[in-house]
């Protein structure tokens, strides 16, 4: 056994983009292998939960966790890896705020199962079989993890030491973090790797006083590349989103969608974003405001909480 500090990766409810983004650090990944003894990385190498269980508590220096917590398996692994790791990092938007998988909190498990196993046109399921936690078969009893009704963020499940926001985190930021780890620098508790201002700070577009008479969908306009997208009536989340990405989307004429989450010290991303947008609507009566909303914001939850529904104050929609 080498004396190198142990590093673990885990992949819960997420798309795999985080792992790909990690590989985007290119050959630097070798330096990581240099510095660490990688004990667990489901996406890259085979490994068993029992191997993790075998490690002493606190035996892992750092675990980089990507993905939201949406099943009893995820929760179990979160607790396990928390116990084993000296530092647990919420890696990427899913672990940080719930991200796209977290939009499931806008509906319910029953609805999701119905869509996936019963109602979808491509499904033939005459016995209406649904996933269940236990099934007896001649060979014995089969078990599946329980599928939760509500997606949780990592820190709603176990204590988290640091966050690496973004969907996915930019390779540069990932490298910043890994470097810090390699250099053995202690991560300040609760640290978020990213800037302490919002995307506008990195955005090159010229901005002036805002007064929005109508909100347009992206397909309705070809935006002027020089001026602020929000001022052109496009919902750009840059005003509320933590900087760190280099304003990539606005840079290519596409509004920011907020994957880096809220700025430092902000508790609810959606609230800040919608407050900012609402404040500059050019309407003074409920009727006029509604007119703008109806025309431009058909899906407020998907708009303001696209990456942060589980991490928001309300966490999910009511079960209808």
């Amino acid at each position: 056994m080498s004396a190198k500090p142990k590093l673990a990766w885990y992949w819960a409810a997420s798309c795999g983009g985080c792992d790909i983004s990690t590989l985007a650090i290119d050959d630097k990944v070798l330096q990581v292998a240099e510095a660490f003894d990688i004990v667990f990385w489901p996406c890259v190498m085979d490994g068993k939960t029992s191997d993790v269980e075998a490690i002493d508590d606190g035996g892992i220096a750092v675990t980089l966790w990507n993905g939201a917590v949406r099943s009893s398996e995820h929760e179990h692994m979160a607790r396990l890896l928390r116990r084993k790791s000296r530092a647990l990092v919420a890696f990427g938007s899913c672990a940080h705020e719930g991200c796209i998988p977290g939009l499931a909190n806008d509906t319910t498990r029953d609805a999701i199962f119905a869509a996936a196993y019963l109602d979808s046109p491509s499904t033939a399921n005459p016995q209406r079989v649904l996933p269940r936690t236990e099934t007896d078969v001649p060979e014995g009893r089969l078990a599946l993890p329980a599928f939760y009704d509500t997606v949780k963020t990592l820190d709603q499940t176990v204590p988290v030491d640091a966050y690496l926001p973004g969907c996915p985190p930019e390779a540069e930021r990932i490298w910043d973090a890994l470097q810090a780890l390699i250099s053995g620098a202690a991560i300040p508790p609760g640290a978020v790797i990213g800037a302490e201002t919002t995307v506008c700070d990195e955005c090159k577009r010229t901005r002036s006083e805002k007064k929005i008479g109508a909100i347009k969908r992206t397909w309705q306009v070809i935006p002027n590349p020089e001026t602020c997208l929000l001022e052109q009536g496009l919902l750009c989340a840059g005003i509320a989103t933590r900087a760190g990405c280099g304003a990539r989307c606005p840079g290519v004429n596409s509004p920011c969608i907020g994957c880096y989450g809220p700025n430092a010290g902000v508790e609810d991303f959606g609230a800040r974003y919608l407050a900012g947008v609402a404040s500059v609507l050019d309407a003074d009566t409920p009727e006029d405001v509604d007119r703008i909303i109806k025309a431009g914001i058909p899906d407020p939850v998907g708009t303001f909480y696209r990456f942060s529904l589980p991490g928001s104050l309300l966490r999910r929609a009511a079960r209808r």
């Binding site: 079989v129 078990a143 947008v277 104050l313 309300l314 999910r316 929609a317 009511a318």
Partner: protein, 180 residues
């Protein structure tokens, strides 16, 4: 005591958080008191300088913390002590309502109420009206809506109905690990 068990000894009493502006609505509430106008004790008032200070996050926080309803009150449009700030309140409130509706929060639970410093009675009536409407809707108990306990058992119950061969449900703690 928590709110999710209501019997005739503990009938449901809505908890409403009221964000009142310092100049009109808070004074209206003062006036209601001075005039000994009685109204339902279910509102808990938080004073802000202007309804324009009401950050949508305040409303969400209150709901997330177990409030059954939230009232935002300010000067009548055009009579804002800060001239025009309550127009901004209107804009934010409408967009917030739109979002809350999408999240399934009933309309009557969040209310924007204008009340001038002279309208103690009007504010008292508005509070009574809101308390009754929220009472009719029942407790919101938002915090319980993301607890796992509601859901898991229901899932297994449904499946049991479908297939008698099912064993007893697993408590989530004992759920087996699955190899990656």
């Amino acid at each position: 005591m928590t709110d999710h068990a209501h019997d005739h000894d503990h009938p449901f009493e809505p908890k409403i958080v009221g964000f009142l502006c310092n100049w009109c609505s808070y004074r209206a509430a003062d006036l209601a008191g001075t005039a000994r106008i009685k109204y339902k004790p279910n509102i808990r008032v938080i004073r802000l300088m202007c309804s324009g200070r009401v950050d949508p996050a305040f409303v969400l926080k209150a709901l997330a913390r177990g409030a059954d309803g939230v009232m935002v009150a300010g000067c009548h449009p055009g009579e804002c002590h800060y001239l025009v700030q309550n127009y901004k309140t209107i804009r934010r409130f409408q967009l917030l309502k739109h979002t809350l509706a999408a999240l399934g929060v009933e309309d009557a639970r969040v209310r924007l109420q204008w009340a001038s410093a002279a309208e103690g009675q009007l504010l008292a009536d508005a509070i009574n009206d809101m308390v009754e409407k929220v009472r009719a809707l029942g407790p919101l108990e938002w915090p319980h809506r993301w607890r796992e306990d509601n859901g898991l058992d229901r899932l297994d119950a449904e499946v049991t109905l479908e297939d008698a061969r099912l064993g007893p449900p697993h408590p989530e703690e004992r759920a087996r690990e699955v190899r990656p």
